[in-house]
Symmetry: C2
Subunit: 156 residues, 2 copies
């Protein structure tokens, strides 16, 4: 079974090469950019400007390799690719939470871009709610951060 | 331009019909289910059990209609489909945050399922961080909730 999609938008960012993008799950993304939504979908954006944050689902379109195990930039140990955000996943789909700064017609001005210029976007959704912080565990990522900081490892 | 994906997993849930699934962005989803990942991708799950919550990207595979404007179940006013979580979006991709209860080989036991039984899954990612609550605005959704509760409308 195969499912096919046509992109609904294109990312405009200052990033021309992946080496310019801060890497790893702890990386801070403050870069601003624009999501240019297709003109024929303009009506679908009505009222989006009321949301402070959006999910952007996009394609790692310049990424062809797939690996099942990766060693992330912020750890020295390998992990299953589905337990990371690495681009070399079976389906190269990226997910980014961006802050919506404003809208001009079909152009969404956003902060928090970590996509290359020209990246195709599959979907945009409002960000609605958080997982309660006291219930959030981040597995190997918390362990890697603790090791680097010389702190005790978190409880499993 | 078209991008194609092969599902990496299938959802097993108690939902056989969309009418059984709690609707609307404020709906509470406590249903448990299983995400059955393809056996050939087993290695890609290594260490995923350390995360309390996962993003699941999936396909509204029994949804063919596309609409640019929708009136959500929890409001009486229409909004652009990209400002909602409605399934009738240009690319019918769903995004659900589930709590990971445990893993048995390629089977992920999860809570918070809102997908039909048999739903194809495109990607699974660890949930890593929240948007700070004091910076989160939810546009028409906050307004609709305030109207229904008889509270003053939120500041735009």
């Amino acid at each position: 079974m195969t499912v096919s999609f046509s992109p609904i938008a294109t990312v405009r960012s200052g990033y021309r090469d992946t080496s310019e993008i801060p890497k790893g799950p702890g990386a801070e993304h403050h870069a601003e950019g624009v999501i240019e939504v297709r003109e024929d979908l303009a009506e679908g954006l009505a009222d989006i400007e009321g949301f402070s944050h959006l999910y952007v689902l996009w394609v790692f379109d310049r990424q062809k390799e797939v690996r099942l195990t990766v060693t992330p930039p912020n750890d020295d140990r390998p992990h299953g690719v589905l337990a990371t955000r690495a681009p070399v996943r079976p389906n190269p789909i990226g997910l980014t939470v961006v802050e919506l700064l404003g809208r001009e017609g079909c152009r969404l001005h956003v902060r928090g871009v970590d996509m290359l210029d020209g990246t195709p976007v599959l979907d945009i959704k409002p960000y609605l709610s958080n997982v309660p912080a006291e219930r959030l565990k981040r597995g190997w990522l918390d362990a890697a951060e603790a090791r680097r900081a010389g702190r005790p490892l978190p409880e499993p």
